[in-house]
Amino acid sequence: MAKTNLSLPEVQIREIRINSITGYHGDAEELVRSGRCGLKDRERSFSQCMGCATSKAACMTILIQDAAVISHGPVGCASCLHEFAFTYRVNSPLRNVAVPTPRYIFSTNLTERDTIYGGSAKLARAIREVHSRTKANAIFVLTTCASAIIGDDVESICSEAEEELDIPVVAIFCEGFRSKVWTTGFDAAYHGIARKLIRKSGTRRSDLINVINFWGSDIFSEWFEPFGAKPNYITPYSTVESLRLAGEAAATVQVCSTLGSYLGAVLEQDFGVPEIPAAPPYGIAQTDRWFRALGKVLGKEETAEKIIAEKKKKYMPRIEELRRELRGKTAYVTAGAAHGHALLDVLGELGMKAVGAAIFHHDPIYDSGRPENDQLAQRVADYGNVPNYNVCNRQEFELVNMLNMLRPDVLLARHGGMTLWGAKLGIPSLLVGDEHYSMGYEGLVNYGERLLEAIENDEFVKNLQKHARMPYTKWWLEQPADYFLEGGPVI
């Protein structure tokens, strides 16, 4: 198990903490096996824009209802954060937020002068200005490459402001160059939240279960109700106060093991909240395990069995129908990491053939250290191996190469931009933003129906294919996808 350390301002990066990698080409079974005995990363000699930790840290802080966020850097480092203001507004009805307030997003707008004389004084002023403008209940300060390299002491500035303003002022160390693993940004945000917000009270509430997730629909209220509990969502649509309570919950569950890996472990190790020993409930096999694990942690095993039986009765007939319609269809998955594994579970359960996957990174073992949380291992055990499994670090050129070679019946994507390449190649492509949509028995029905709809209505992609421009060279499309990976065919 990776040891957490909340006394340090910065979280250790994933590459070091849990040996995460960003380059692999092979199959899923081999990846799982070598993950157990030291997995070696493979560098690339060609790369495209990857994305960095700062926007991931931003996403886990901006969506807290009553917080303000300051990006301490040049104005460009906060460019895309307005997208979270949109997300917050659009998804608020799914989380019963009746009046979604504007998101408070700021940049200290570092200029050349600041890179020479330092940006500390500016940040100190910025925090006070944001406090008086927003009256937020907590202020988060995100570091950037520029502020990190010039060496501003962000931790001290935040601590001083916190004392003066009497609200949490939380430094989040998420500068882009620190890590190649995009999810380090989530870890960084959670680390700051755990250090400064989550309360150690010694109380344990049996009616509260932490759910580490994104902004998906509120399905957990209904799921937890028979257990006499309700969800404490972390962090989108939480409040500073509800985050404080996370340390008192009965258990923690995750919707994506790579998202909450670190926070789940911190809650367990530093606050005594057990993380349930099961990967998220995608596919029937895993859903059953998940409910049982939850029941066990809560001491309500019978409730779990009852739920499973009811759900089977209610949903199995439709799932069987969907299986008949989808059987033998081929699919390719591209996603962050664990949610990709989850989609591979869903495909396996629906009887579809996963012909490959382009997954952004791979965590050989999560921070909990428990093999039960390893969704890819479960996937391989439950539904068989996945060939053509690439860890691609969001490298589009590798995805296009594989898609062009494999030509699946459908492309499933989790992150923006990727569906374009399916569409350009005439492959029906589906992105479902709500990560809860495919969970559990009902999720198989939801997702199965969406898959059928996507495969059936292919007119748009077939037309686009006829007219699409392809910036990739013919040469590249004919190479093996790991051509530019260290130890690849020519290097």
């Binding site: 460009g76 895309c80 997208e83 700021f106 190649k180 910036p471």
Partner: protein, 447 residues
């Protein structure tokens, strides 16, 4: 300029945003020597703007701790070499982010290695802390002119085509209507007998057109301040004089002034233009425009259920000035307090203020230069005038408009509540489109 220590709700981005200047050139590719997140930030700011090889397609060295400590020049060499294998492009523009600039990598010498082998490649310093994308647009265009266009000058003799002009107007993608605007300028200029190189978007001829920049007789700059260094550079380099129109011509009045200004300048520069035909063209366009306004007048004057009578605009200087003039004189909506959110350098502010205040000799229009748009909103939140108000701005301002009970038109970045494809706001037809957009939204409140 703002005294804030922060920018809230930014309406522009850093120098790296000029990667969209490259993306807007057909078949050109930006190569980023930067941290891993820069491209994602820019793609997320502009949205739906990846073009041919922008967004996740653009090569990037993705600085890690190793490059920060040891420098990233070898990594960049590798990425450039392999870009030629993977991507099929006509022009490569290597751009540096903050990391490369602070570390001090010498990209000029490295890129020269490739350029010496005949590769169409250019290097430009675009550290985010050095400039905004409004400023960096000129830096990138000038780098392409100095390092790429200049290679073709022997077959493109300066000022050798009397009726050809280079047009510098909209900044691609930062102006949400850039594509439509450039196409409309090209059509209008062609109507008065000029062949315009618009250089960006589908109406340009790609790198071939860039190579022919020196041949133009003169240049046209349509901008309150940004883009001026390009016109100055070309004047010094190829002796091309330029005519400067200080705001976007929207509607009939300003488009006529614009076209007449260009026509007179062209004649002075020795362009071979049939002046009568040119004037006939302008009159024809104007007549067509006023046919619409005449039909509309009764609606604007008689609609008895309420129409906006005043407007606040939060936009860049070019749009604020243009929309104030257009809405007052051609639609009858009175411009009240205005907010320029583009980070206009101080030296241009007085001229812009004067331009806006020349809109009417009967009215004073208060102008705030405020890149901290959150602060601009705070000011606007406290202002109230009689009658139904209209706010024209970015997606951020929709929330403020709702709060104030005002009508709202999305016309600035970031623009999440509106898709703009090839719509133009410049020109006669652009004015009509602004009218359509405002009243579509106003009338829909009665549905």
């Amino acid at each position: 300029m703002s005294k804030s220590a922060v920018i809230e709700q930014q309406r522009y981005t850093c120098a790296m945003g000029a990667m969209q200047t490259v993306v807007a050139i057909p078949r050109a590719v930006p190569i980023l020597h930067s941290g891993p997140g820069c491209g994602e930030m820019i793609a997320g700011f502009f949205e739906r703007s990846a073009g041919y090889a922008g967004g996740c397609t653009s090569p990037c060295t993705n600085f890690s701790e190793k490059e920060v400590v040891f420098g990233g020049i070898n990594r960049l060499r590798e990425i450039i070499s392999n870009t030629y294998k993977v991507l099929d492009t006509d022009l490569q523009v290597v751009m540096t982010g903050c990391t490369a600039a602070i570390v001090g990598d010498d990209i000029t010498s490295l890129v020269a290695e490739f350029a010496d082998r005949g590769k169409p490649i250019v290097a430009v310093e675009t550290a985010g802390f050095n400039a905004t994308n409004y400023e960096a647009h000129s830096i990138v265009v000038n780098a392409i002119i100095d390092q790429y266009v200049s290679r073709f000058v022997s077959e493109n003799k300066p000022r050798s085509e009397k009726n050809t002009v280079n047009l510098f107007a909209s900044i691609p993608y930062q102006d949400p209507f850039w594509k439509g605007n450039l196409a409309e300028y090209k059509r209008l200029l062609s109507g008065i007998g000029l062949n315009a190189n618009v250089l960006f978007g589908p109406e340009s001829g790609g790198v071939k057109e860039w190579q022919s920049i020196p041949k133009a007789n003169f240049n046209i700059l349509v901008s309150p301040w940004y883009g001026k260094p390009i016109a100055d550079n070309l004047k010094a380099k190829y002796g091309q004089d330029y005519t400067w129109f200080h705001h976007i011509p929207i509607g009939a009045n300003e488009t006529e002034v614009f076209l007449n200004q260009v026509l007179e300048f062209a004649l002075k520069q020795g362009a071979e233009i049939d002046e009568k035909r040119a004037r006939d063209f302008i009159r024809h366009e104007s007549d067509a425009y006023y046919e619409e306004i005449e039909n509309l007048a009764t609606f604007l004057l008689e609609f008895r259920y309420g129409l906006p009578n005043h407007v606040h605009i939060l936009h860049d200087a070019g749009y604020v000035a243009a929309l104030c003039k257009f809405l007052l004189h051609e639609v009858g909506i009175v411009p009240k307090e205005q907010f320029i959110t583009d980070g206009t350098p101080e030296k241009y502010q007085e001229t812009i203020r004067a331009d806006i205040n020349s809109t009417s000799d009967k009215k004073e229009i208060p102008v705030f230069f405020e890149p901290d748009a959150g602060k601009a909103q705070e000011i606007l939140r406290k202002i109230r005038h009689k009658g139904r108000g209209l706010i024209i701005g970015s997606g951020w301002d929709r929330e403020l408009a709702r709060e104030k009970g005002y009508d709202f038109l999305s016309a600035a970045l970031p623009n999440p509540y509106r898709l703009v494809l090839t719509t133009n706001y410049a020109g006669f037809t652009g004015g009509l489109r602004v009218i359509e957009d405002i009243y579509l939204m106003v009338l829909s409140t009665y549905a």
